[in-house]
Structures are given as structure tokens and as C-alpha cells.
């Protein structure tokens, strides 16, 4: 329930040992690398390593082969090919690529043939009714006929050529194309063909050997199309057989090259000072002892460790430490952005508040249990990331369902249980307590907002961000202001005179002034001089509108939580409708209605409530204390799924 403590690492050694060190770093799985030039002293005369990766061209060739053949490379033991030199591998890949090209070309040719014959077949199929021989039509002496299809955009341009000596007839239209033919006098053939070329007319060549009328030609073309398809199948089969033979070795070559490529890229993070390399990064403190011991067999290499935030130049990366209960909710935190190193890990807060909000909005014992089981199964069987979250919020929904006395929409099922237990105030019937529920959810929202502000204050003080912790709308000034307004309103409703002059001046006006003057006050606390940019007028205008926005946000963020009550009521209402429909049906149909009604309401409500709860988390709560600008901890490793550019 915190952020993993990190150690800042500085590895140095002779340049001869650089590659060996990089291999160990990739293998260890716990080292987050940073660019050493960020911390290197300019006066040391260091040089950054900028080398072209020699493995990139071969890898690109491999990716090309993968893209064209459709095989996916996976990592494999590559000891067979480890000793092969790069020129040898290059030759092998070139040979594979060339053979692939040949097979692809043969397939392409076959497909083009098929395409031409299919188009001709399609065209001829639309010419049913022509009883003259096609060969006679095409051997006309004074007129030439061209059949094919014209893109719709080009068809619209035909009026531009009204003065040209041709006619275009279209037989049919299909999405983007007009199928038809144009007739042109022989003398103007070249000119008109050029026009239609520019209009992207795709000519259909009815083969010379196709004779007879439309019907005869059509059946001949159908036969040719079947032959073309067989020919394509043959080509594809040959290609697949070829690639099957080569796949294993290609995977081994890929594994080797990717490993060497990624390790080589890491060199660009190091700097060289007089024959010594320096690499910097971070390791989790829990792994630091094991890490330091890894380089024992490399005499020139030394490793120094210090606390992560002592380096001052590179912010430590973030690895969240969460317990079993809250771990699934880290997905939401990462979605928003990771916390910075010295701030608070909000995952536990998210877990509790999300479950609470979901439970209130979804409250149904039976549906909650079904959701919990569904989530657990999805998480285990399908490795669905949302699965564990759904199972937890389902349990929360079930608990609140018990409080509401709702079981699969039956609102009276638990009444006898509570009667027997002697608990008179339960169950809390939602539909009978609309106003109290809405007020209670606003009160809950106010409570959560206050908690968020408190978190911000603690975090701000910890990070010495005094402007934020003391004088901002989410700091002490904001808390006092907000709390005082609330206290005054509650007091007024209870008939207690709270808004006295000292109360207003000290607890409302003074915090407002502090929020208005937060920047100069923060400088004062830090002992620095405040420099006003843009003049007094600008300062007053911009701060006035900002404070106005703060005040509006208190109201809007608080009232936003009324949706929690709203969704609780809407859930109950939807089940009421289901029950009303079921009651109006026959004895056989009624249970079916209940089942499907529950499934439908569960699905819709679960989705809506998840989204609404997330919205409240991100917008109403996170915005008060969380900035999400942390850098994720990404240990170096060979990523076989990543392509290179």
C-alpha cells in the first residue's frame, strides 16, 4: 500500500566489459535504466555513445518476411544459430525473402487472373440477354467497345466530356463502381482510351477464347474462375509448406537478433569517460543486494547504490506496492497516471471508495453475488483484468443489497429475517426513502471530498509544496473555507446561529484571501521574493476568476455525488418495472421474465455504475490531490513482441 523504495544505481567499468554488463542487466529483470548523460558532469569530458545498431537492418528484413508471410515470431532457444556471423544470417534471410517473393509473385499472378476472370464473369452475367456472339461485337470494324467498371467519382465527371466522341452505358451500380461499356469510333480510340485511363476505368478483358453469346460465355468463365481458385490454393499451399520448413530457424534467428539488438540499444544510455563506461538507473531496494552481487565475475565493474531521491536530477520511477485486496484497482490508478515518488499511493483509497460507491449504486444481494462469481470466473479463466475488480464490487453490491433488502429485485424477501433479528431500521427500502438517500449521498460526497483534501495537505507537506498544502483550494485554506461553509449551513438548518461576524471573517473571508494570494504567500513561506508577471491588473483578474472557479467546484463536486443516490434509485426502479411485467404474465412466462429482466438490469447497471464510479473517482476526488505525473518502473528486458521502426 505504498510505493516501492528505489535505489539509484551507478555502474562503471572498463569499456571491454560493457556488453557483458548489458546482458546481465537485461537478464536480471529488476533494473530500470536511465540516460547517464542526465547526471554526468559536463566537466568530466564524457562522451555519449551514439552508434548505429548493426542488428537493425537484419531485424527489419525479418519483420518484412513476417509481414509478407503472416508468421509470428516467438522467442526460442537460439544456441544453434548463436555462432553464425551476421553476413551468414543476412544471406539466409535474403534467400528466404527471394523465395518468398517468387511464391508471392506466383500467387499474385494467379489472383490477378482470378480477378480479371471474375470481373469478366460479373460483367458477362450482367449482359444476359445479348444473343450475339461476343467475338462479333469485339471485332466490329468501325466502332470499338470497351467493357469494365468506372469509379463512381469518375462517373460523375463524364458530363465534362460531353463534347467527346464516345457513349458510356452503365448496366449496374455497385457501391463505388458503375459497370458498363463505352463505344468509340476507331479514329478516336486512343484519345478516348486516354480519357478513361485518367478516369481510372478498369477494363474487363473478355478473353479471346470465350466465344458465343452471354450465356455460353458466362458458363465458360465460371469454369475458368474455379480453375483460378484451385491455382491460388496451390500457390498458397506451396508458400505455407515452404514457410513451415523455415519457421523454426527464423524464430531462432529472430530471438538471437532481437536479444542482441535490444542489448545494443542500451549502449546509447551509457556514457564513456576515459575508457570507462557509466550506466545509471534504479533498482527496487528489495533487489539491490542481489543486483550488486551480479557483477562479481567482472573485475573492472563496480556498482554504487544510493537512495533514489538523493540524485536530484532524475525522478525515481514508480512501482506500486499493493496488497491482495487493492491490487486489481491499480489499473485505474495507472489509467489516470502514476503518483510521483514521494507522494501517496492512492490505490487503497480507490479500492475502498470505488467499492463503496459501486455498492451503494448497485445494491442487490442476488445480483451482487452473481456479479462477484462472474468476475472471479472471468479473472481466473480468461485472465480478464477487470475480473477481480468486478468480483470485489459485486461483493460490495451484495452487502448493500442486504441493507436494502433487495434480492434479485424481490424487495420483501429479507423482511422476515430482519424482523426475527429484531432490527427495526433495516431493510432500507430505497423507493420509500428517496429524499434521505439523495441527501445522504451528497453528505458522503462531501465527506470523501474532505478526505481527498486532507490527503492533499499531507502529501503537500511531505513534498514541501506549501502553496498547495496550505493556501490552495485543496489545502488548509480550502479545507477551512469549505468546512466552515458546510458547518454554517448545517447549523442554520438546525436553527443554530453560526454565521457570526468573527466566524465569517476568520473562517470564510480569511481563507478566501489566502487562496487569492496563494502564490505570494507560498513565496513568503519559502523566504523568496514573489515576482508578479503581467502587472497588478492581470494578477487580480486571473486570480479572481480562479478563486471563482474554486468556489464553483466545491458546489459542483459536492452535488455531483447526488448521482450515487440517483443510480441506487434507478436500479430499484428498473427492477420494479421487471417485477411489474413479470406479475402481468402467465405462470410459465413470469419466471423467464424475472431471469432475463435481472440479466438485462445487471448488465446495464453494472456498466453504468462502473463508469459513474470511475468518473467520480477521477474528476471529483483525484483532481483534488493527485497529479499522476510519475514515471513507470520499466525494467530492461528483451521485448519480443515489440517491433522496431
Amino acid at each position: 500500500m505504498s510505493i516501492e523504495k528505489m535505489e539509484f544505481v551507478n555502474i562503471s567499468g572498463h569499456t571491454n566489459d560493457l556488453n557483458a554488463v548489458l546482458v546481465k542487466l537485461s537478464d536480471c529483470g529488476c533494473f530500470h535504466i536511465e540516460s547517464a548523460s542526465k547526471v554526468a558532469n559536463k566537466k568530466s569530458g564524457y562522451t555519449a555513445i551514439k552508434e548505429d545498431n548493426p542488428y537493425t537492418p537484419l531485424l527489419k528484413k525479418l519483420y518484412e518476411i513476417s509481414a509478407r508471410s503472416g508468421i509470428d515470431f516467438k522467442s526460442m532457444d537460439y544456441s544453434d544459430v548463436e555462432k553464425d556471423s551476421l553476413p551468414v544470417l543476412d544471406k539466409y534471410l535474403t534467400d528466404v525473402s527471394n523465395t518468398l517473393d517468387e511464391y508471392k509473385a506466383a500467387e499474385k499472378k494467379a489472383r490477378e487472373q482470378l480477378s480479371i476472370h471474375e470481373q469478366a464473369m460479373y460483367q458477362v452475367d450482367h449482359l444476359q440477354g445479348i444473343t450475339a456472339d461476343f467475338q462479333q461485337i469485339f471485332h466490329c470494324e468501325h466502332i470499338k467497345i470497351r467493357m469494365g467498371r468506372l469509379p463512381a467519382d469518375s462517373f460523375a465527371k463524364l458530363p465534362y466530356y460531353d463534347d467527346k466522341p464516345f457513349f458510356f452505358f452503365h448496366f449496374s451500380q455497385e457501391q463505388e463502381y458503375y459497370w458498363g461499356m463505352y463505344l468509340v469510333p476507331v479514329a478516336y480510340l486512343d484519345e478516348v482510351e486516354e480519357i478513361f485511363d485518367n478516369l481510372y476505368f478498369e477494363r474487363t478483358h473478355i478473353p479471346d477464347f470465350v466465344h458465343g453469346d452471354a450465356e455460353t460465355a458466362s458458363s465458360e468463365l465460371h469454369r475458368m474462375v474455379e480453375e483460378d481458385k484451385k491455382s491460388i490454393e496451390e500457390s498458397v499451399k506451396k508458400l505455407d509448406e515452404f514457410m513451415l520448413l523455415k519457421t523454426e530457424k527464423l524464430c531462432k534467428i529472430f530471438s538471437r537478433l532481437k536479444t542482441q539488438h535490444d542489448n545494443f540499444d542500451l549502449r546509447n544510455k551509457a556514457v564513456i569517460v576515459k575508457n570507462k563506461f557509466h550506466i545509471v538507473g534504479f533498482v527496487p531496494r528489495s533487489d539491490s543486494a542481489r543486483f550488486a552481487g551480479m557483477f562479481g565475475n567482472l573485475d573492472s565493474v563496480s556498482v554504487s547504490l544510493q537512495h533514489a531521491d538523493m540524485n536530484g536530477k532524475i525522478p525515481p520511477p514508480i512501482k506500486l506496492k499493493n496488497n491482495w485486496f487493492s491490487r486489481p484497482f491499480s489499473m485505474f490508478v495507472e489509467m489516470y497516471g502514476l503518483p510521483s515518488y514521494n507522494s501517496i499511493n492512492p490505490t487503497n483509497f480507490v479500492a475502498i471508495t470505488y467499492m463503496l460507491l459501486f455498492g451503494i449504486m448497485f445494491g442487490d444481494f442476488g445480483q451482487g453475488l452473481v456479479l462477484a462469481i462472474f468476475g472471479a470466473l472471468m479473472g481466473k479463466l480468461k485472465k480478464w483484468q477487470m475480473g477481480p475488480i468486478i468480483s470485489r464490487v459485486g461483493i460490495s453490491g451484495a452487502i448493500f443489497g442486504l441493507l436494502y433488502g433487495s434480492v434479485f429485485g424481490y424487495e420483501e424477501l429479507l423482511d422476515p429475517v430482519y424482523e426475527k433479528l429484531g432490527i427495526s431500521f433495516l431493510p432500507l427500502k430505497v423507493m420509500n426513502n428517496v429524499a434521505p438517500i439523495l441527501v445522504a449521498t451528497i453528505a458522503l460526497g462531501v465527506f470523501l471530498i474532505i478526505i481527498s483534501i486532507l490527503i492533499n495537505i499531507v502529501s503537500g507537506i511531505k513534498n514541501r509544496d506549501y502553496e498547495n498544502a496550505l493556501f490552495s483550494n485543496n489545502g488548509i485554506a480550502g479545507l477551512v473555507f469549505f468546512g466552515s461553509i458546510l458547518g454554517g449551513l448545517v447549523g442554520t438548518l438546525l436553527g443554530i446561529k453560526v454565521f457570526s461576524v468573527p466566524y465569517v471573517l476568520l473562517l470564510i473571508v480569511l481563507p478566501l484571501i489566502m487562496m487569492f494570494m496563494r502564490e505570494p504567500l507560498a513565496c513568503l513561506v519559502r523566504g523568496k521574493k514573489y515576482r508578479m508577471e503581467g502587472g497588478v491588473g492581470d494578477f487580480i483578474a486571473s486570480n479572481f476568476f480562479e478563486v471563482f472557479e474554486f468556489l464553483l467546484s466545491y458546489v459542483s463536486n459536492s452535488l455531483s455525488f447526488v448521482r450515487v443516490g440517483g443510480f441506487a434509485i434507478s436500479h430499484a426502479s428498473m427492477m420494479l418495472v421487471v417485477m411489474a411485467l413479470a406479475n402481468g404474465m402467465s405462470a410459465a412466462a413470469s419466471p423467464v421474465m424475472v431471469v432475463f429482466g435481472n440479466i438485462f438490469v445487471m448488465g446495464i447497471e453494472a456498466l453504468l455504475v462502473c463508469i459513474q464510479a470511475m468518473r467520480l473517482e477521477f474528476y471529483e476526488l483525484f483532481s483534488r490531490f493527485y497529479s499522476g505525473d510519475g514515471v513507470p518502473f520499466t525494467p530492461v528486458k528483451i521485448n519480443y513482441d515489440e517491433t522496431i521502426e
Binding site: 509481414a67 509478407r68 490477378e112 480477378s115 467519382d153 460523375a156 465527371k157 481510372y200 517491433t643
Partner: protein, 343 residues
């Protein structure tokens, strides 16, 4: 005050989510010919619907490019038709932009004595334009063009331009006049909330400044024009850089000095800070604007602003695909193609 059209913004974000990723561009660059690229787009991206009836084995490069350009316009119509915001004056900008592009293409064809204008006319927009694009394609002299445009708003913009004794017209001057008209039209029709207006103006200012910078760079580097000649071709409106600042830059005697002076400006510093190649001004400008547009789209809740930057992003995506297609078609090295792709 601009009404909220949150549903339109949500729709834009949904479509934006399907945009091509760097991996898609890498995959396309690994293909060997236009058919394979078209096949990849058809099978693996949201362009599958556009290319559904296309035979990728035989598709012509020019047709594919036209289809891609048309898809941008269709997307534009879809998002502005979603909540019927297309009736508002601002959203006419795409039509006007297309009309201006066609007028400029017509002028270039007139100067070149070419009759190829018809080939790339975006006929799918013809029912919305204020003049018939097919009729425009028939025009072969400048006087004819002015007569044709007499009843449109472009006549007053271009009427002061006259052809020389050979019938040729100063294309740069026409472009400057029309772009100025377009930008002023955008500014006057944009009815945004204050915060969105600032972002829109900032984005527009970048566009204005880069039009001036790139024009003046071309005239300096490739034509060696004098300061006075360059000034005539500058837009008469300015963005973040003032007229004096621009003058300071384009008064440079050569391209290297131009770049050096430019590097001291806000844009120059941004280009260097982002690691772009400042000597390749046009490409760096496009990258900077692309980055700015993405940032605006992520944060904006305003429909007109979102529409404007989203369409810009979409046009950049289509241009990327076209660069890849043309690079493969003409056997350009993949490194060079990759340098033209903006992500």
C-alpha cells in the same frame, strides 16, 4: 456563446481512437507495392469500409489517393451532420477551403497550359460548392476564371490580379490573397467560448506564421528573391511573429542564415526542443502543428475546435499514407519514406 455539442466531441474522440498507429505505418512501409498497402488498409484498419468494394490487386495509385482524400470529407460530413451543426457558418470552412484549393489548381493549370485539372477534381463535394467544379475545370484563361467567379465571394479577392503578356498569373499572389481571405473568414465566423477561442487563435496563428515562413524560405533558398520581392508574397495577417520579426528573418541573404535567424524564434526553439530537424522546415512545421493539434484535441470540449483540429489530423494521416504509397511506387528508400511520416 457557443452551445455545447458534447455528443459531437464524443463522436470525434471515438473516431480518433481508431486512427492509424505508428505500427500501422511501419507495416505499410514493409510492403512492396501499392496493392499490398491497399490490402493492408483494407484488412487491418478502419479504412476497410471505404475499400470494401475495391479490388486491391488492380487498384490504381491515383484512385486510392482520391478515395483516401474523399474519406476525410465524408468523415467531416458525418461529424458535422451528427448534431446538425453543419448549418452553422463556421462549418462551411471545409467547403470554402476546397473551393480555394480548386481555384488555385485551376490557376496553376492555366499557367502550365494543362487540361489535367479534371482528373483530381473532388466531384463528391460538387453539390455543396458555390460554383460547379466541372465547369471550373473547363476554364483555360484567367479572364475566363474571373468571369466565372463573378457571382462568388472570390471575385472581389482576385479581381485586382492581372495576367502578364503571356496570360500567366502570379500564383503566389493569388494564393496569398485567397489564404488571407480564408483566415479572416475563419476568425470572423468562429464563435467559441473564451478558453476555446484562445486555443483556436493560437492554432491558427501557427498556421499563418508557418505559411509565411515556408513561403519566404522557399523564395530565399530556391529562388534567391530579394527582401522586397518576398514581402509582396507574404500574408498580410500575422500570428505570433510580427511583421518586423518576419522581415528580420527573410531579409537573410541565404538559406543557412535564414534558418539561423528562424531558430531564435519561438517556433524555432520549439522545433529544436522537440528534436525535429530544423533544416527541413516544412516537415518540422507540420510535425509541430500535428503535435499541437493532438494536444488541443485531447483537452478540448468544444465542438468547432475539435472538428477543426481533428480534420487537420485526419488530413495528416491521409497524407502519411499517400507519402508511403508514392514512396513505394517510386522506389524511395524506407528511411526516407519514414522521415516523411508524421506521428
Amino acid at each position: 456563446m457557443q452551445k455545447n455539442y458534447n455528443a459531437t466531441v464524443a463522436k470525434i474522440m471515438a473516431i480518433y481512437g481508431k486512427r492509424l498507429k505508428p505500427q500501422d505505418y511501419t507495416e505499410m512501409m514493409n510492403r512492396h507495392n501499392v496493392s499490398e498497402v491497399a490490402d493492408y488498409l483494407k484488412k487491418n484498419t478502419y479504412y476497410s469500409k471505404l475499400l470494401a468494394s475495391i479490388d486491391t490487386n488492380t487498384i490504381h495509385r491515383g484512385l486510392l489517393e482520391n478515395l483516401l482524400r474523399r474519406s476525410v470529407f465524408e468523415t467531416y460530413m458525418r461529424i458535422t451532420g451528427f448534431e446538425h451543426i453543419s448549418k452553422q457558418k463556421f462549418y462551411n470552412y471545409k467547403i470554402i477551403q476546397t473551393e480555394i484549393d480548386e481555384i488555385l489548381r485551376c490557376i496553376r493549370c492555366i499557367n502550365a497550359g494543362s487540361d489535367k485539372l479534371i482528373q483530381d477534381v473532388p466531384v463528391y463535394i460538387n453539390h455543396l460548392t458555390s460554383f460547379d467544379l466541372l465547369e471550373l475545370a473547363r476554364i483555360n484563361d484567367f479572364k475566363g476564371l474571373l468571369d466565372f467567379l463573378k457571382k462568388t465571394q472570390y471575385y472581389s479577392v482576385l479581381k485586382e490580379v492581372s495576367p502578364d503578356e503571356n496570360g500567366k498569373v502570379d500564383v503566389t499572389k493569388c494564393e496569398t490573397l485567397l489564404r488571407t481571405y480564408f483566415i479572416n473568414m475563419l476568425r470572423s465566423s468562429a464563435d467559441f467560448r473564451i478558453s476555446d477561442s484562445k486555443q483556436f487563435i493560437s492554432f491558427l496563428e501557427t498556421e499563418i506564421d508557418f505559411i509565411n515562413i515556408i513561403n519566404s524560405y522557399r523564395l530565399t533558398a530556391y529562388f534567391g528573391e530579394s527582401e522586397e520581392e518576398i514581402e509582396k508574397d507574404m500574408l498580410t495577417i500575422y500570428g505570433r511573429l510580427t511583421a518586423e520579426r518576419h522581415r528580420e528573418i527573410y531579409s537573410a541573404p541565404n538559406a543557412e542564415e535564414f534558418i539561423r535567424r528562424f531558430s531564435k524564434t519561438y517556433y524555432g526553439k520549439q522545433i529544436i526542443k522537440n528534436g525535429y530537424d530544423i533544416t527541413d522546415l516544412e516537415q518540422s512545421a507540420r510535425r509541430l502543428r500535428y503535435k499541437h493539434a493532438r494536444s488541443i484535441l485531447r483537452r478540448s470540449g468544444s465542438a468547432p475546435l475539435s472538428v477543426y483540429v481533428f480534420i487537420f489530423l485526419l488530413e495528416t494521416e491521409v497524407q502519411n499514407i499517400i507519402s508511403i504509397i508514392e514512396g513505394i511506387r517510386y522506389g524511395v528508400e524506407s528511411n526516407k519514406i519514414a522521415s516523411l511520416v508524421i506521428t
